[in-house]
Symmetry: C2
Subunit: 296 residues, 2 copies
């Protein structure tokens, strides 16, 4: 959200991966604009991510169908809501899940793939806080459809680790949010680069677990929760538009700076093309090293 | 603790890995007994894990030095407390760390290696809850000494993932706690086998984060924390001897059933030898698969 518009998706697809537009922050008009611009900037396949629980999700799906978007990733909601409609139109559907149980549900709903997203991921997260190391192989064992690993992957080492655990692809958010083509505010990107390990906790736990930088706003929510705030009080403190304020407008203290835990490891803003090509090159180097080390 | 006595350590070392006695639950007399029995059952190197914050840690170190234990893993405390003394006696020292910052501290203290342990690990955990996927490569980048990966590794896939991320070895707790040679109570082992994803949370957060099965006792602590219990009240509810009661005596509701999050993925109790040999065999198969898939 707020980081992945047509520019980032085009750069990723043009570099040989599958670029996604994050439509969670868009209305249908804006999504349409992004899809048209992306189509003009890129001849390769691309996709759109749509949070099912978003009240505009149906309209966003309509836009995708109208413009023959080949791939839709659905998240934050049940896999059964839109899958049939998308599949009937020939769209490939991947659903984001935080547990082996929900992966089975996505498979039953007819999804083509699942994105198994560990609790280290940025933004909204599963309640059970299953980490990528535990989640990925368990989902690989639970379903027959391909598993795309997400949560904590920022380079070719992480990509290789995911494939070693049985995933057939990786979804990368944090690293791409910190590229030149990301539409996130420069102040937000720089705040993530400055962050250290421990600065990116899961907050709003047991209400709506979200991973973001522990700034003034997040600390006030954590302390309200410690003081026993109800879900209603938390919703009121949170208000609306916090992620826009943080990620898009760069309000570092009162905005919500959603980012994955691996954000503290990222050191430079580079192009999405460089991230993609270096990830693939490093993946090859890592496998060559592993093969060499295994030789008796 | 309570699972890794001389029998388990001997089986692991005899199978070709490095078996460790977990001395956290022992007094010096009992540790001595275990070291002597282990020495008789195994001609290969082995080690002892000692929690630095344990009030008997100094005595336990004395026993290790007296019996010329070749390797000591220190944990739960500063790396500077015992490293010099152990190194002066020619002992190899690995220190367990939950963050890149503490890894650097362990390196400065003269440790031979660090164990980078992610928040998915069982038992006592770091406050910052850094997951293995994020922690391992960050520690590899932070220090020059070898990194041993821990937290969430239960099979050869996990081992390969750790090596892909740059670790030079793996430390495996949960999978070995669930073997025939583990001294944990059968009822405890069966409770872990029955557990599902989401059943093994981190509790006592911000006081003394510990990962264990969410039984009656753990749920009572979580609810006390939600109601604003102070650290003193939490310590009183916890009392003493909970892990012995749970792991060693098999009290499934009032004991503390410490185990890693990956415990929910383990399906069978087998011998530690089988775990070790299968982990190495699977590691080789995974690298062969990765090499094959990479071939254009």
């Amino acid at each position: 959200m707020w980081a992945s518009g047509w520019r980032l998706a085009a750069a990723v697809s043009n570099a040989g991966a599958l670029g996604l537009i994050g439509a969670g922050s868009m209305d249908s008009g804006l999504l349409e604009e992004h899809i048209v611009k992306l189509g003009a900037a890129c001849e390769k396949p691309f996709g759109v991510n749509i949070p099912v629980s978003n009240k505009r999700a149906g309209d966003l799906i309509d836009v995708c169908l109208h413009h023959r978007v080949p791939v839709v990733f659905t998240s934050a909601g049940g896999p059964g809501v839109y899958t049939d409609r998308l599949k009937a139109a020939g769209v490939k559907v991947a659903h984001v899940v935080p547990s082996d149980k929900l992966a089975r549900k996505a498979e039953s709903a007819g999804c083509d793939a699942v994105v198994a997203e560990g609790t280290e991921a940025g933004g909204h997260n599963g309640l059970q806080e299953i980490t990528s190391m535990v989640l990925w192989p368990s989902v690989v064992d639970a379903v027959k459809i391909p598993v795309i690993a997400a949560g904590g992957i920022a380079d070719g080492r992480g990509m290789t680790a995911a494939l070693a655990l049985g995933a057939e692809g990786v979804q990368v958010g944090t690293r791409y949010a910190l590229t030149e083509e990301s539409s996130a505010h420069d102040a937000y990107k720089e705040a993530v680069l400055r962050s250290e390990q421990g600065d990116i906790p899961l907050y709003l736990r047991s209400y709506m677990p979200t991973r973001a930088i522990a700034n003034e706003y997040v600390k006030s929510v954590i302390s309200a929760q410690r003081d026993g705030a109800t879900d209603g009080e938390l919703a009121r403190i949170r208000g609306v538009g916090r992620s826009r304020m943080g990620i898009f407008e760069g309000d570092l203290e009162q905005g919500e700076l959603e980012i994955g835990q691996v954000g503290s490891s990222v050191e430079r803003i580079v192009s999405a093309r460089e991230v993609t090509l270096e990830m693939i090159a490093q993946y090859k180097r890592v496998i060559e090293r592993l093969s060499y080390e295994m030789t008796p």
